[in-house]
Every structure is written in C-alpha cells, then in structure tokens.
Amino acid sequence: MGKHIFWNTLRVELRKASRSKLLWTALLLGCAFLALDLYESYINIQQAIDNTQRSEELGLGKGYLGYSLFSSWCGIAGGTYGSALFLTVWPVLAAMAYGWSYNDERIAGVYDQIAVRVGPRRYFLAKHTAVFVSGGIAVMVPMLLDLLVMALFYPATDPVYLRDCNFLCALNYASPWAFSLARCLIYFLFGGAAACVCHVAGTYLRHGVMVILTPYAILMAIESLTTMLRESIDPVEILYTLSPFQMVRTAGFADPGWLLLGTLVIMTVGSYALGYWQVKRNELV
C-alpha cells in the first residue's frame, strides 16, 4: 500500500515536472547555447577544410590534426563560446527545471494538502526524485543533441587522449561513441544531483530565483575553494578535483569513477538528508 502511494505520488510529481514551463525554458536555453556551439564548430571545421584544400593546392600536405567529433563536442571540449556558456550555467538550468517546486509548493500551501494525504516522507522522496530526473533531463538532452547534430558535419576521427586518471578513459579509444554517450549519462546524473541541491535551502529562501541560483552558488563556492587549494599546492601536478564543474568536463584533472560516484552520492543523498531534516523541522501537519 505504502509503495503504491509513493509510486502514485512520484507519477504525479513527474507529470507536474514535465508540464512545468520552466523545464521547457531550461531545455530551450540549453539548446540555444549549444546551437551557438554548433554554429562555431561548423565555422571552425569549414575553415579547417578550406585550409586543407588550400594546403593541398600548394603541395603542403594535408591533415585534420585535432579535429575530432569526440574531442570537440560540448561534453568534452568546451572550447567554443557556446559550449563554455553551457558548461558554466548547467547547474542553473538543472535547478530551473523543477528544483524550485518544493519551495514554491511549501510557500503556496500546496505542500500541506499533499503531505497530509501521502505523508511528508513519501512526498519529499517523490519530489526529490522528480527534481533529480527533470534536472538531469534539462542538462543531458541539449548535450545529446549537440553530440548528434555535430556528428552530421564534424569528422568522427580518433579522439584526443585522456589521462589514465579520467573516468572511462580506455573506452574513449576503444569505443568513442559509447564513451560520449556515457558522458551524456554523467551529465544527466550531475544535472539531477545539482537540481537536488535546491533542497539544501529548504524553505529558508523565500524567492524562487534565489532557490534556482542556490546550486550554482554552492558549486561555484566549491570551485573557488578547489582552485585556491590547487594553486596553493602545485598548479602543475595533476590533482584530483572536488569541483563538479571540473569533474564533468574531464579537462585537466583526475576524475576517477569513485570520485564521480562519491560526489554524486554526497550531492544527492546529502541534499535529501538536509532537505528532509528541514521538512521535519518545519512540520506543519
């Protein structure tokens, strides 16, 4: 019976999330940023083709050194303005999808109506799950589209190398497509985890905008601390990164599987624990 109630609640929450205008806005914004990335990548590869053709005409040989889909799509490179923009704001997009809903429903009093029927724990778990899924979708779908659309005009040649300490680095060479799709999945998980961070604030923040900005602010604080720490230790040595901003990009830092998984668990379970603690603390029913 209890399980049945939970699944019904989850279904309702997922339906509410899918009908949220902000989820679609986040998706559109993400796609817009990555459309810019695609445009820039298209210009870049066209210039590479022109250069190669001119190079051949001049007898200078030819080559597409470094131009590979698997190294240039947004999930890996972040070399274009559009992709850099996306990789900067993804926590905001994730939170925008549905992360604000708990705070919104609590302030509007909808929470009381639901919690009294299904229980606060089931409600919050269903809410947390729906927030995770919608946040993940808001980040992953534009990423996936970027990969697939870029594959239409970018050479799928061998990818550039990753360090051994990068998660799934061997797969990057053996099966670049599988690796790229795995990275999409990682973005989904991090998007979901970032969206869940909205629950850390509970109902303390009364403004929806502030709730949406909370994950970004927390991740940026971690990023700043990580950067300061790294610079104070050894800026050259390869170090583990604790910043999700850097973890998702596989750029320059060690991000082994245990670290990725640990970070995801801390973000998701930690935000759930803190959020639920506040639910109980502010219990009205």
């Binding site: 820039e40 083709i49 470094g66 590979s68 190294s71 850099a84 005009f153 050479p155 700043s224």
Partner: protein, 280 residues
C-alpha cells in the same frame, strides 16, 4: 513590517548567493572570448608556396637511393601498396616554422609535417616545438608508400613496446581507425594517428609522420591511420633518423614497419619490412 524583517534576515544569504553568481559570471567573462574573436585564432595556411633553398646541392651529403619501387598486395581485398625506401639527408632544420622542404632524396624535395608538442585542437602554434629532432645534416631513411584502395594502418616500432604477437602493449596504441558515421564526409578526414613515446602518453601526428630521436632511449613507437577510398591513391612518407649530423648512428636493428591493410578487424594482416641500418 514582518515581511521586511524576514527579508532583512535573509538578506546576507541572498547577497552571498548573488556574490557567488557574480563571481561565476566574471570568471566566465574573463576566461572566454566572444565568438567573433574565435575565428581569428584559427591559423591559416600561408598563401605563398615556400621557396627552395638557393643552393640545395651544397647542403647535401651521402645521398644514396637504396631501392626502386616494389609492390605489396594485402592478403585480403584488392588494395595495393607501392613502396620505395630512400636514403636522404635533412637540408633544413625542422624547427623552421612552417617547415618547407625538409629532405632531399637526390631528385626532389620532400616536405614533412612536424607534429611537435601540440595535441589538442587548435594548438597549431605548438606543432613545431619538437622540430629540433631533425637537424640540418641528419641522415634519414624515408619510406615512401603509395597506397591504392586500402584502408591503411601503419605501425612503426622498435620492438621494446611490443608483445609476442606483435601488438603494442599499450592498449591505446592499437586503436582501430574510427570510420566516419552519420555524415557523408568521404572526401576528407583521413588523417589521424597516434604517436607513443615512453615519456608521453599519446599524441597525434599528421599524415606525414616522423620517427626517430637522437637518443635511442627515447625511441618509442607510433602509428598512423589513413583511410583511402575505393579507387583512390595516396602517398605517405615516413622518415626515420639513422645518423645524426655529428655522424652518430642510431640503432635501428629492431625497427620494423608493419602495414595492416585491414584496420577495422585488426586481424593479423601484416606486411613486415625488415630494416637494418648500415651498422646493423
């Protein structure tokens, strides 16, 4: 009044969040250029054909052609290799950027593209960082391969990196060529490869790869992959340092070139060229 008090109570947190967001925005602005500027960063090919040295013959020594063309047919498919091994002398430092005619084989100049230290997209300016590996006066062996109808993966190694079955121990060195998918880009995108050294992980180099260092300890292995479309013929020249400009020979007794005519399956379709230098 109560609303104002509540707002003021939360104000520090709001300000902290906004400050962190502002910091993120500033950081982004500092680290990223607007799209218009990006196009200027991409290097362009020089518009003039490089000029030959005024008196190339005066720069040459010991130019001996050691072989005419010989033909190799892969075991499977209808591909065809045409090989020629040439002794040549470096007539221009590879550190010259962009490299011009680097080798002279007695009849013509051969240009070799250096890959240098750059490995990431767009780092063209670093292509020539390691160009000093070939100096003016070095003696090299050039292997010229003319390839028709083959999907080619060539491997060059000195034996120290290989397991008994002839594969590289380093799994990253035996990656098959990734064919282009989802897009009809048959006209291009044929040139990518790997290059492995003991001190490096993996680096790209271009169609005209090079091999060899002054110090035998640093000799590693490299691989290049070229896809040639049906009916198409391409030429690739590989260079191997055999004697540096001071007359110091490089031990090449272990050097082998393996041509794999089927890079998709990687199933032992090897053609081996045994090479020995004058000392070996």
């Amino acid at each position: 009044m109560e609303k104002l008090v509540n707002f003021l109570k939360r104000l520090p947190i709001y300000l902290l969040i906004l400050a962190l967001v502002g910091y993120g925005v500033k950081r982004f602005m500092d680290q990223n250029q607007p799209p218009e500027v990006l196009s200027d960063v991409i290097p362009t090919v020089p518009t003039q054909v490089p000029t030959q040295p005024e008196d190339p013959a005066s720069l040459l020594k010991n130019v001996v052609s050691v072989g005419g063309y010989f033909d190799i047919y892969p075991r499977y498919g209808d591909g065809h290799f045409r090989c020629r091994i040439i002794n040549a002398t470096v007539v221009q430092d590879a550190s010259v950027c962009p490299p011009k005619e680097l080798f002279y084989d007695g009849t013509r100049f051969v240009r070799m593209i250096e890959d240098g230290g750059g490995y990431a997209s767009g780092e063209y300016e670093e292509w020539f960082v390691e160009g000093g590996a070939y100096d003016h006066g070095d003696r090299v062996i050039l292997i010229e391969l003319e390839m028709t109808n083959v999907d080619f993966v060539g491997r060059i190694y000195d034996g120290s990196f290989t397991s008994e079955d002839g594969y590289f121990k380093d799994p990253y060195a035996i990656q098959p060529y990734m064919p282009i998918q989802l897009a009809d880009l048959a006209r291009s995108y044929v040139v990518q490869g790997y290059r492995d050294f003991k001190e490096y992980d993996c680096k790209y180099f271009s169609e005209l790869g090079k091999y060899g260092e002054d110090d035998p300890e640093t000799i590693g292995s490299e691989q290049l992959a070229i896809q040639i479309l049906p009916g198409e013929t391409k030429t690739c020249t590989l260079g191997f340092l055999v004697e540096n400009k001071d007359g110091k020979p490089v031990d090449m007794s272990m050097l082998r070139v393996i041509l794999n005519a089927d890079s998709y399956t990687e199933t032992g379709i090897f053609i081996e060229l045994g090479l020995e230098n004058e000392e070996g």
